[in-house]
C-alpha cells in the first residue's frame, strides 16, 4: 500500500469539499474493492475519503410502493432487514449471498454499484427492478447508470446517496457463484413490476444487460417453459479461468428458468 491521507467527513458537503481540495482523491464506502487494490499497489490515491460516518447515506425505508436503501447500507443490513424481506425478498436473498460474511459486513450497496464490477450481484437487481440511483445532485435510472465494465454514469466526485426500488409483484434472483470469489459467474434477476417484465443478467458479459428476448417471452407467458426454446449465443460473453462463454450461455438459460420458477 502506498501512503495516503485518510479523512472521515460527517456530511455530504464536507466530503465534497475534501474531494475538491485533494490531488487524487478516492471515496471509500465499505472498502471491499479499493482496499485490496491498494494493498496490491494497483491504486495510489492521495486521499481516501471514508464516507462511512455520513448519516444521510444510511438506512432502509419503505414508503408506498417504493423501497429506499441508503448508499452506505451494508449487504448484511440489507439481508437482515425485515422491510426488505417483506417488500422485495429477492433483494434480501441476493444481499445474503454476496461474497462471504466478512464482505457482507463491510461492503455496501453504493460501493458495489459505483464500482460496477461485471460480476457483482446488485447491478442485476437494480436493472431488473427499474431502480433509480440518487446522487447528491441528480437521479439516474439504473439502466442508464451502468455504462460499461467498471464504468458508470457518475461524474468525477459525484456521490451516490441512495437507491430507490419500485416494489415488484414478483421477483427472483438466481446466481451461479464463482467457486473462488463467490462473485456471479452468471446471475439472472427476473422481476415483474406493473405490466413490465425485466430480466437482467450479470456476471456473464462485460456489463449487466437486459435479456430482451427473455422479457418478450415472459410478457406473454411468465413461466419457465416460455424460455425453453430461446437459444443464447455465446458471442460477446465473458470467458475466463472458471467458465467459458459457451458455459455461461448455458448458465444464463438455466438460471433464467429457475429464477422465473422461483418468482412464481
Amino acid at each position: 500500500m502506498y501512503e495516503f491521507e485518510y479523512h472521515q467527513p460527517k456530511s455530504l458537503e464536507e466530503a465534497a469539499k475534501l474531494f475538491a481540495d485533494a490531488d487524487d482523491p478516492q471515496y471509500m464506502a465499505g472498502g471491499q474493492t479499493i482496499i485490496p487494490v491498494m494493498k496490491q499497489r494497483l491504486a495510489m490515491p492521495s486521499d481516501i475519503i471514508d464516507i462511512g460516518a455520513i448519516a444521510e447515506l444510511k438506512g432502509i425505508t419503505v414508503e408506498g410502493d417504493t423501497l429506499t436503501i441508503g448508499a452506505m447500507t451494508r449487504h448484511s443490513e440489507v439481508a437482515g432487514s425485515a422491510e426488505v424481506r417483506k417488500s422485495i425478498p429477492a433483494l434480501s436473498s441476493l444481499a445474503d449471498h454476496i461474497g462471504d460474511p466478512a464482505v457482507r459486513n463491510r461492503g455496501t450497496l453504493g460501493g458495489s454499484i459505483a464500482n460496477n464490477d461485471p460480476a457483482a450481484d446488485y447491478p442485476a437487481a437494480l436493472v431488473a427492478l427499474g431502480a433509480t440511483v440518487h446522487t447528491a445532485t441528480r437521479e439516474i435510472a439504473a439502466e442508464d447508470f451502468f455504462t460499461a465494465m467498471f464504468e458508470t454514469a457518475l461524474e468525477e466526485g459525484e456521490m451516490i446517496v441512495k437507491v430507490t426500488f419500485p416494489i415488484p409483484q414478483r421477483a427472483a434472483y438466481e446466481k451461479f457463484p464463482n467457486p473462488a470469489s463467490r462473485y456471479a459467474t452468471a446471475g439472472v434477476f427476473v422481476a415483474r413490476t406493473g405490466d413490465a417484465v425485466h430480466v437482467a443478467v450479470t456476471g456473464a458479459a462485460p456489463c449487466v444487460y437486459r435479456a430482451k428476448d427473455f422479457e418478450q417471452a415472459l410478457d406473454n407467458d411468465f413461466s419457465p417453459t416460455a424460455l425453453e426454446e430461446i437459444t443464447i449465443s455465446a458471442d460477446g460473453l465473458n470467458s475466463d479461468l472458471h467458465a467459458s462463454a459457451e458455459y455461461r450461455a448455458n448458465l444464463i438459460g438455466v438460471l433464467a428458468r429457475r429464477a422465473v420458477a422461483k418468482a412464481g
Partner: protein
C-alpha cells in the same frame, strides 16, 4: 485421571489461545530496532538477468540493505540441499540436480523466484525501493507442463541437463507384471492427471532473523514445520556451524508440507540481519504464497489393470511423469518416484505390480510434499482404475473391491512394492463403512434427488497408505520442585493439537495431572534433535518418544518409591498415579515421589536431586500403514454440472487412537483438502508465458464450510500395529488419500446414465457439464 487417559477426547488446550487471538505467530512478534524486508521476485517464467541495478533503490528513504545474487557469489554461499530418498536413476547414476541457490544469480526459472531482498525501516519503504530496482531480463522460452518438457525441442531449463530430465525410477517386477498382463482376460487402461495444487495455510510463510555481534550467533523465528533440519540447511548455506543458529518456530498456522522445507528467504534474512546489525522481518503476502510456497501433486499417469474373467486382479502397471518444477527442492524428486510407488495398488491383493516414473524439470515453482506426498496420488490411481474396470467390464464396483481386498489372514504381507503391511482388516473396514453408509436408503435418496432434477451417486474407496518423515525423535521430561513438569518434543504441531495429545500420553502413563504439564516444541535449543512434522509421524514417532520417556521416568520413580516405602523396586506397581507395593499394600503417590526427587535425603543412593528428569530418543524401525475406507454420496446438477458432496462416511484404522477428537479433526481436515482437490483446486500456469494464473484467492478456489458434506467417522481399533510401542499408525494424511477417489467416483456413478466414464480433477462444474453434453452427443 481417566479424563486425560489415552483414548479420551481431551479438548485442545491450545484452542483457548488460538480462538481468542492470543496465538503468537511470526507477525505477532516484534523486536527493538526491527527492520522489514520484502522480496523482489521474478516476473518471468524463464529469463536471463542481463542487468540488476540497485543503486537508485539503495538511496530511497529508509532503505537499509539490498541483497542480490552478487552477494551470494561474492560470499560463496552454498546451494540448498536436496534430501530425496530416491537419488539415483535406474542406471545407477545420480539424479540430475542443479544448484539451488537462495537467490537468482544470473537467470530466473520460475515466476516468483527471489531476485532481491530489500530491507528498510518499514514494509512500505521496502516496497517503494523494490519498485525502482532495475532488472533487465532477456526472456527465454518456458515450459510448465512436465510431459511437454520431456519432448524433443522443449525449452531447456538447465543448460547442462538435457531434456529437462531429473531422474527415472522403477519398482516392482517388470517381467512378472508383463506376464500377468499377457495372461489376463481383461486389461483396463486409464490416463489421468493428478493436478498441481498448493496447501494455502491460513498463516502465510514469514520469518524474523537476527544476529548478535557479541556472541557471533544468529537466531531465526520462522513459520516452519521443521526447525532442526532447516537449521542445517540455512547454516550450511551461510557456511556457519549449525549450533550458531538458534531456530525457533512459534505458533505455526498450518503447514501441510508447504512449510517442511528450507526455503530461500530465511538465508537471505539471516545474511541481511548480520549485514545491518538489526533483526529483520519478512511476511509473505498471499500472492507470494501462491507463487513461492511449494506446490504439490502434478503427476501425469497411465494406469493399467489386468484382471481375469472373474474380476480377480492379476497385475498393476503404472507409469508416471511427475513435475518437480525448476529445481530439485528439499525432497521434490521423491514424491513422484518412491513416494508414489510404495502404496501402489492400495489395499488390494496383487500378485504382480510394476511402477515406473520420470521426474521432469519445468518452469514452475518447485514441488515438494503436500499432505500425503505420493500416497494420495497412488490411492487415486488405483481407485479410479478399479471403478473404471467395474464400469467397463460390468462388475458391481463394491463387489469387485470386496473380492480383491487383501484378506485379513494374508497379513502380515509384504506387497510387491515392498510395503510391509503388518496389521489391519481391510474387508472388515469396508463392510463397516458400507453398513454406516445406509445402502438400504440409497434408492429412496436417488428418487428424492431425481425429483429435484439431480443425479445422485455413491462410491466407496478403501485406501492403504504409509507414514514417513524422519525416523528419530527426541522427548525430554523435566520436573520442577513444585510438581509441575515440562515436556519437550522434537516433532511439532502446526495446529494439529500435539500440545494436548503429547502431554495426554505423559499424564496417562505417569498418572500426573494433565494441567501440570507444559509443552515445548519447535526450538533447536530445547531439544537436541527433532524431526518436525511430516509424513503423519507426530504421534507415531513423537508420541512413541514421549511414551518411551514416560517409561524411563517410571523406572526411576519406582526406585524412589521403593526407597520411600522401604520396599523392593520390583514389587512396585504404578496405577493411576499411585505406586503400591504388591506385597505389603503400602503406597506412595507419584506426586510425593516427584517431591522426594528434589530432596537428597529422601533419595536412594546414587540418585541426585532432579533424578526423574529424562531425555530420550526413540527411533522407528519401520513405517506404519494407516488404512481405511471412505464412502461418498453426491448430487450432481446435470443442467449446470454443479456438484454437492452430500455425505461422507469414513472408517479409519489408525491403530491405537490417543485422542479421538483430534483424530476426527485430522480426518475432517483431510477430507476438506481432498474435496478441494477433487472439485475445485488447481494451480494453473499460462501455457505460453509461464505466468501463474491462479495467483490469488479470487482465482484459486478453496472449499469453504458450506462446501463440506455431512461427515460420519468411526475408527477400527482392533488392529494396533506392533511397529511402535503406542500401536498408532498415523492419521494426518489419510483423509487426502480416501476423499478424492470417493468423491470423484461418486460423481461418475451419478453420471452413469449419461455414459460418462472419466473426468479429470478438479471436477469443475463446467467440466462436468461438458462431459454430460459430450456423452449425449456421442
Amino acid at each position: 485421571m481417566e479424563k486425560y487417559g489415552i483414548g479420551q477426547p481431551v479438548r485442545r488446550k491450545e484452542d483457548v489461545r488460538f480462538l481468542t487471538g492470543k496465538g503468537t505467530y511470526i507477525d505477532d512478534i516484534s523486536h527493538d530496532n526491527l527492520a522489514h524486508a520484502v522480496v523482489l521476485r521474478s516476473l518471468h517464467a524463464h529469463a536471463k538477468i542481463l542487468k540488476l541495478d540497485t543503486s537508485e533503490a539503495e538511496n530511497m528513504p529508509g532503505v537499509l540493505a539490498i541483497v542480490t545474487g552478487k552477494d551470494w557469489v561474492r560470499e560463496d554461499f552454498q546451494p540448498m540441499p536436496t534430501k530425496s530418498a530416491v537419488n539415483k536413476k535406474i542406471d545407477g547414476t545420480p539424479l540430475n540436480q542443479p544448484p539451488r541457490h537462495a537467490i537468482a544469480i544470473d537467470r530466473v526459472r520460475y515466476v516468483g523466484e527471489p531476485v532481491a531482498l530489500i530491507v528498510a525501516e518499514t514494509v512500505s519503504q521496502a516496497q517503494d525501493a523494490a519498485e525502482v530496482v532495475e532488472v533487465d531480463y532477456e526472456e527465454l522460452d518456458a515450459v510448465t507442463d512436465q510431459v511437454k518438457a520431456l519432448e524433443p525441442g522443449a525449452p531447456q531449463i538447465w543448460d547442462d541437463i538435457e531434456g529437462n530430465f531429473c531422474l527415472d525410477f522403477e519398482l516392482g517386477d517388470k517381467q512378472g507384471t508383463d506376464k500377468a498382463f499377457e495372461a489376463a482376460d481383461n486389461v483396463v487402461t486409464l490416463e489421468l492427471r493428478n493436478q498441481c495444487v498448493t496447501a494455502v495455510p491460513i498463516e502465510p510463510r514469514g520469518a524474523i532473523a537476527g544476529y548478535d555481534k557479541g556472541t557471533g550467533k544468529y537466531f531465526l523465528q520462522n513459520a516452519t514445520q521443521n526447525v532442526h533440519a532447516n537449521r542445517g540447511t540455512f547454516a550450511d548455506v551461510l557456511k556457519i556451524p549449525h549450533e550458531d543458529l538458534h531456530h525457533m518456530a512459534p505458533d505455526v498456522g498450518g503447514g501441510f508440507g508447504a512449510k517442511n522445507s528450507g526455503y530461500p528467504e530465511p538465508s537471505l534474512l539471516l545474511y541481511a540481519a548480520k549485514k545491518i546489525g538489526r533483526p529483520v522481518k519478512w511476511i509473505a503476502e498471499r500472492n507470494e504464497s501462491f507463487a513461492a510456497d511449494t506446490h504439490g501433486r502434478d503427476q501425469a499417469s497411465t494406469i493399467e489393470l489386468a484382471l481375469d474373467k472373474d474380476g480377480m486382479f492379476l497385475g498393476l502397471r503404472t507409469k508416471t511423469v511427475g513435475n518437480i518444477g525448476a529445481y530439485c527442492w528439499t525432497v521434490g524428486p521423491f514424491t513422484p518416484t518412491g513416494g508414489s510407488a510404495r502404496t501402489q495398488g492400495g489395499a488390494y491383493y496383487f500378485p504382480a505390480m510394476y511402477y515406473s516414473a520420470i521426474a521432469a524439470f519445468t518452469n514452475t515453482m518447485p514441488l515438494d510434499p503436500y499432505r500425503g506426498a505420493g500416497r494420495p496420488e497412488g490411492s487415486f490411481q488405483i481407485e479410479r482404475i478399479v471403478e473404471l474396470a467395474a464400469r467397463k467390464l460390468g462388475f458391481d464396483p463394491v463387489e469387485l473391491r470386496r473380492k480383491n481386498l487383501m484378506p485379513a489372514d494374508s497379513l502380515p504381507r509384504k506387497t510387491p512394492m515392498g510395503l510391509d503391511v503388518d496389521s489391519g482388516n481391510f474387508p472388515e473396514v469396508l463392510e463397516r463403512t458400507l453398513k454406516m453408509s445406509d445402502r438400504d436408503g440409497f434408492a429412496k435418496r436417488v428418487a428424492e434427488s431425481a425429483k429435484k432434477g439431480l443425479r445422485r451417486g455413491f462410491a466407496i474407496a478403501p485406501y492403504l497408505e504409509c507414514t514417513g518423515g524422519s525416523p528419530k525423535e527426541f522427548a525430554g521430561v523435566k520436573f520442577a520442585a513444585d510438581g509441575t513438569l515440562t515436556l519437550r518434543v522434537g516433532s511439532m504441531s502446526t495446529g494439529m493439537g500435539q500440545e494436548t495429545s503429547m502431554p495426554q500420553i505423559l499424564a496417562a502413563k505417569l498418572g500426573i495431572d494433565f494441567e501440570k504439564i507444559s509443552y515445548v516444541q519447535g526450538n533447536t535449543d530445547a531439544t537436541p534433535l527433532g524431526g518436525g512434522h511430516g509424513g503423519s509421524r507426530n504421534m507415531e514417532v513423537g508420541g512413541s518418544a514421549v511414551l518411551q520417556a514416560a517409561n524411563e521416568v517410571i523406572v526411576k520413580a519406582k526406585q524412589i518409591a521403593a526407597h520411600l516405602l522401604n520396599s523392593n523396586t520390583d514389587d512396585m506397581k504404578l496405577s493411576e498415579g499411585m505406586f503400591t507395593d504388591v506385597k505389603t499394600g503400602q503406597s506412595v503417590s507419584m506426586e510425593d515421589v516427584v517431591a522426594a526427587s528434589f530432596e537428597q535425603s529422601r533419595l536412594p543412593d546414587g540418585m541426585e536431586a532432579g533424578a526423574l528428569d529424562t531425555d530420550t530418543i526413540y527411533e522407528r524401525e519401520i513405517i506404519s500403514c494407516p488404512n481405511g475406507c471412505h464412502s461418498a454420496e453426491v448430487e450432481v446438477d446435470p443442467e449446470t454440472g454443479a456438484i454437492h458432496v452430500e455425505r461422507m462416511w469414513v472408517v479409519d484404522d489408525f491403530g491405537t487412537i490417543i485422542n479421538p477428537m483430534l483424530a476426527d479433526g485430522q480426518v475432517m481436515g483431510g477430507i476438506a483438502q481432498g474435496l478441494g482437490q477433487a472439485l475445485m483446486e488447481e494451480i494453473i500456469y499460462d501455457e505460453d508465458s509461464g505466468q501463474l494464473v491462479t495467483g490469488s484467492l479470487m482465482d484459486y478456489a478453496l472449499p469453504r464450510a458450506d462446501s463440506m458434506p455431512k461427515m460420519k467417522m468411526a475408527f477400527y481399533e482392533d488392529a494396533p500395529t506392533a511397529k511402535n510401542p503406542l500401536g498408532v499408525k498415523g492419521s494426518g494424511e489419510a483423509g487426502c488419500c480416501g476423499a478424492p477417489p470417493a468423491i470423484v467416483n461418486a460423481v461418475l456413478d451419478a453420471l452413469k446414465q449419461d455414459g460418462v466414464l472419466h473426468i479429470e480433477m478438479p471436477l469443475t462444474s463446467e467440466k462436468v457439464w461438458r462431459a454430460i453434453s459430450e456423452a449425449k452427443g456421442s
